[in-house]
């Protein structure tokens, strides 16, 4: 009977978190908690750990992106484009980890109603994709600029400035401004995330459709082959790196600039040095021109405040430029040949097409391919604009608030603001606004909030040592939600794999991981776990990189490594694409690689099958 018990996931209401996490509930909004009131419904659903969006314990304010996508992703499926049998994805927190659930299909009559709307609305999008994309980008840039323009008061002045009183009083002052500005930022994030899914659900649907057609024609075709046929080369996510290449080339034409950039100093020293010469100024002007938007790129996934962005960690782009300049001077080519990438993709498609035997099938393949290609760019382009550019602006603005709160004794450090959720921050802001209004020498409850920050940091730290259950509740009979299938790969096999992992597996007992077979090839070598981009200084030639995810800010890493393994990311993720280009094996989206694998472990990476084997554990 013990076995039978192990083959079920725990009921979400009975699931216990370790005692060190006590008090975690207060970090998150109440609708994120499993609750008695919704207990009957919650117990019937299947909840699985969202390793893609919440691979690490969730800082309270960073939950805002999750809150926003829960609404937006779901509404496009259920109410906007009406994907007939699919419903939304619900989220819950258990400790600082997020579980999600693809809700079961609606009643048949609703499916029928949705089908009619789907045809009308969805086909229109495909027919007008290019113009819709132009409109999307225009309005998205406008939104980001609006956020950038939000003024966060630098301080609470002793007296309001004269010009706000005379000749005509503005009527509202800094005590109101700080509340309004914060509300505006929150609203903009929610709006930006509404835009985020404008075409994404359809993009994923089209991808799944093409994948299905390919598998019907070629039963053994690999996901990596499908990804290769669909992926584009000229996508926004690659622009930051291209801009770096251009700046590096410019530097080599200005020898004094190249020499400064090749130096060992920090970015700010180099900038000060460059300021002194005409050539240096010319180069800095070019850098400034490129930086917005292209260096508003997260050093991670863009989902967490602590990842940082090129623009506020200039040492990162400067270190890349240093190595690019050196490589250029050695006569190497640093640019990816995008035309080449495109050509290779077209050839791949043509070769598969040639293998198809019947004319009807060839037509269907062409139709499916053209359909997915019409829209697939969206999956690749939106990412830069939302998760990178837009989030970078958000984090910077929030830090201005953090600074204000720290200056007014509410928190110790700027980043402590991320330890409060979006509903709590107005409370802190209201208190300082009130204190300021009340007059001089008004005490605040700073110690109360500082204690909260300390406690929450401890909870998050304790949580990072804990491996929560991969799933909770009852496995579903069927899944129709496109993201669930494509991003999380929820299938019978996956559920079985999770069930297998239920018997309290310790990380050190795991010897094999599965992920997407993103780039072919098999190699063996020592692992280097890089939790943060800043750890790359430790990376040695020929190591196998194990990291949460990569993006173009990691690009120069790929010339050093033997293979890549990521926690997050599918077949068209950055790591997958770059590894295919460099001919390095890659297994992406393993979910757990960075928590299971330790630096120094000897790994075998099989990019053909998506299996990573830990051959020998480091001592």
């Amino acid at each position: 009977m013990a076995e039978e018990k192990a083959a079920r996931f725990p009921d979400p209401h009975e699931f216990q978190v370790p005692s060190e996490l006590e008090g975690w509930e207060e970090m998150y909004p109440s609708h994120y908690l499993f609750s008695k009131e919704r207990g009957e419904w919650e117990s019937k659903q299947f909840w699985y750990l969202d390793k893609i969006h919440a691979p690490e314990p969730m800082p309270p304010l960073d939950l805002i992106f999750q809150e926003a996508w829960q609404i937006s992703l779901s509404q496009y499926t259920t109410r906007v484009f009406c994907i007939p049998p699919a419903q939304g994805i619900a989220q819950r927190m258990v400790g600082p980890y997020m579980y999600i659930c693809a809700i079961a299909p609606p009643p048949e009559e609703v499916i029928g109603e949705k089908a009619q709307r789907f045809e009308k609305r969805v086909f229109y999008v495909f027919e007008h994709y290019d113009e819709l994309w132009d409109k999307w980008l225009t309005k998205f840039k406008a939104l980001g600029n609006e956020m950038e323009a939000v003024e966060v008061p630098k301080e609470l002045p002793k007296f309001v400035p004269e010009d706000q009183v005379l000749p005509a009083p503005t009527g509202y002052y800094v005590s109101y401004d700080i509340l309004e500005s914060f509300n505006n930022l929150v609203n903009q994030i929610f709006k930006g995330w509404q835009y985020h899914f404008e075409m994404l659900n359809l993009t994923y649907l089209a991808y799944l459709m093409f994948g299905d057609v390919c598998r019907k024609l070629f039963p053994g075709i690999k996901e990596s082959a499908i990804g290769k046929m669909v992926a584009g080369a000229y996508v926004s996510m690659f622009r930051p790196e291209e801009e770096l290449c251009k700046l590096s080339r410019l530097a080599t034409s200005l020898s004094s600039v190249a020499n400064i950039l090749k130096g060992e100093g920090m970015a700010d020293q180099k900038i000060a040095e460059l300021e002194k010469s005409e050539d240096g100024k010319k180069w800095l002007a070019a850098f400034d021109k490129a930086k917005d938007p292209w260096f508003y790129v997260s050093c991670g996934s863009g989902w967490f405040h602590y990842e940082g962005s090129w623009i506020n960690s200039l040492d990162i782009p400067y270190s890349y430029i240093k190595s690019y300049v050196e490589r250029l001077e050695n006569g190497e080519t640093i640019e990816r040949s995008l035309d080449e990438v495109n050509k290779e993709r077209d050839e791949t498609v043509a070769k598969y097409r040639e293998l198809i035997q019947s004319d009807e099938d060839r037509d269907a393949f062409n139709n499916a391919y053209n359909t997915v290609r019409t829209i697939y760019r969206y999956a690749e382009d939106h990412l830069f604009w939302v998760e990178h550019w837009f989030h970078t602006i958000w984090f910077a603005k929030i830090r201005e608030f953090g600074s204000l709160l720290a200056d007014n004794g509410m928190i110790n450090e700027v980043d402590d603001i991320f330890m409060f959720n979006r509903y709590e921050i107005p409370e802190l802001l209201t208190e300082i606004a009130t204190g300021w209004a009340l007059g001089v020498d008004i005490p605040v409850r700073g110690d109360y909030y500082k204690a909260k920050v300390d406690k929450r940091k401890k909870i998050l730290k304790a949580a990072s040592e804990w491996n929560p259950s991969p799933a909770l509740g009852v496995p579903p009979e069927e899944v129709a939600e496109p993201f669930t299938i494509m991003l999380w790969g929820v299938t019978t096999d996956k559920v079985k794999e999770w069930l297998k992992g239920m018997g309290e597996v310790r990380p050190e007992d795991v010897s094999e991981l599965k992920g997407f077979a993103s780039s072919a090839g098999i190699v063996e070598g020592p692992a280097k776990v890089l939790k943060r981009l800043k750890d790359i200084v430790d990376l040695k030639e020929g190591e196998i990189m194990v990291c949460p995810t990569t993006n173009p800010s990691w690009a120069p890493v790929f010339t050093k490594i033997k293979a890549a393994i990521t926690d997050i990311g599918g077949l068209t993720s950055h790591a997958a694409i770059v590894c295919r280009e460099y001919g390095l094996p890659a297994v992406t989206g393993t979910g757990v690689a960075t928590s299971i694998i330790k630096t120094g472990d000897i790994l075998k990476v099989d990019g053909d099958t998506g299996v990573v084997t830990i051959v020998k554990r480091a001592n």
Partner: protein, 373 residues
């Protein structure tokens, strides 16, 4: 009993009246009637630039001359007349009688001279005094609709010296009259006298590793895959299924090896110089679980497989061998190729149907993935 009818003359044959043997290099797919499917296919591949071990075909004419000139023809067809598939004993007796006749009568002079000459030339070409050869029957396949049936005929490996070659040729001819072949023809109403056979005499590959290759995945009909099975020694262990071979599945487009199964290969088919024949020997313990070929060899085979497939315009079933006496890529030989018959016959109809992108998208949107708990 009707006298045996002569095969329909073809232009090549008219030009060269006395073609008892033909070098593989002279053959192509149009030579099928004279040299049978296997030999014609080898010639066709040589013409297409595929690396095939040299050899020559003993033509169907030789067989006809042989049974005529030795005077055994009448006795053969006499023995075969009036047989019934139900009378197994009579069938077996007739088969034994006919095979005995063919095996034991001395080779007719004209044919002997031709084979001697062919073998001598092959030895000269290979710079070996008595080159070891594989002697294989090559059916004209007029009465044999499936390739698998053709495989019933005999193969003699590592045959050395002219007397042994001639003996093996006669045995191959005799294989036309196994009980199974006789009963098959009776069942399908084919005349025993119209059936012809040719024999191929081909330089042995001194193979380190050998096996088969399909330019389609035989398990699921996937046209985008090449499936290779290989094992140590001569390919016979793989062809006969007497070892679990190593198996590789390679994508034709990306040239990625998507599946690699390394099996424990206990035995290998090798030439035993003491016994002067090919034997199944034990594989050294440390070699049993070792992959029998390198990725570079797999990729070379895939390249060749794709060329052969392209040349024939259809999925192929290929036998190959890697010679230990040559350096790569000259070491990789193709020893046989025939059309794949199982999937090729049924794969013509559309699997998706006539559908627009929107129809496909709508279907996808309606899809639900079943989860079995």
């Amino acid at each position: 009993m009707e006298p045996p009818t002569k095969p329909i003359p073809n232009p090549l044959k008219l030009e060269r009246e006395m073609d008892y043997t033909l070098d593989f290099e002279e053959l192509n797919k149009n030579s099928l009637q004279m040299v049978g499917g296997k030999n014609a296919s080898l010639g066709e591949m040589i013409g297409a630039g595929i690396h095939v071990p040299p050899g020559f075909a003993v033509t169907t004419d030789s067989y006809l001359r042989f049974i005529t000139e030795t005077g055994i023809k009448g006795a053969i067809f006499q023995a075969l007349s009036g047989l019934s598939v139900d009378d197994v004993e009579a069938l077996n007796n007739a088969s034994a009688e006919v095979q005995n006749l063919i095996n034991n009568v001395p080779m007719s002079d004209n044919v002997r001279v031709a084979i001697e000459e062919g073998y001598a030339q092959l030895c000269t070409k290979c710079v070996v005094e008595t080159v070891p050869v594989a002697v294989r029957s090559s059916a004209t396949a007029e009465d044999l609709p499936t390739a698998s049936f053709a495989g019933q005929q005999d193969t003699y490996l590592w045959v050395e010296g002219i007397e042994n070659v001639i003996d093996s040729v006669q045995r191959c001819w005799a294989s036309l009259f196994t009980p199974r072949a006789i009963s098959y023809r009776i069942k399908n109403d084919f005349s025993h006298e119209k059936v012809l056979i040719s024999v191929g005499v081909q330089k042995m590959v001194n193979s380190r590793t050998a096996g088969v290759m399909f330019t389609i995945n035989p398990t699921d009909g996937d046209l985008s895959k090449v499936v290779i099975e290989g094992s140590w020694g001569l390919g016979e262990t793989v062809v006969s299924g007497s070892v679990n071979p190593d198996k590789f599945v390679v994508d034709k487009v990306l040239l990625e090896i998507s599946d690699k199964t390394i099996s424990t290969k206990h035995i290998q088919c090798v030439y035993d110089p003491d016994r002067g024949e090919v034997v199944n020997a034990d594989v050294e313990p440390d070699m049993q679980s070792k992959c029998c070929m390198g990725d570079y060899e797999i990729k070379e085979l895939v390249k060749i497989g794709k060329e052969i497939e392209k040349h024939y315009g259809r999925a192929m079933d290929i036998e190959w061998a890697i010679d230990k006496d040559f350096s790569f890529p000259e070491s990789v030989f193709i020893v046989q190729a025939r059309p794949e018959t199982v999937w090729s016959q049924r794969k013509k109809e559309s699997v998706i149907g006539k559908k627009s992108g929107y129809q496909l998208l709508m279907e996808q949107a309606m899809k639900r993935i079943k989860i079995q708990g």
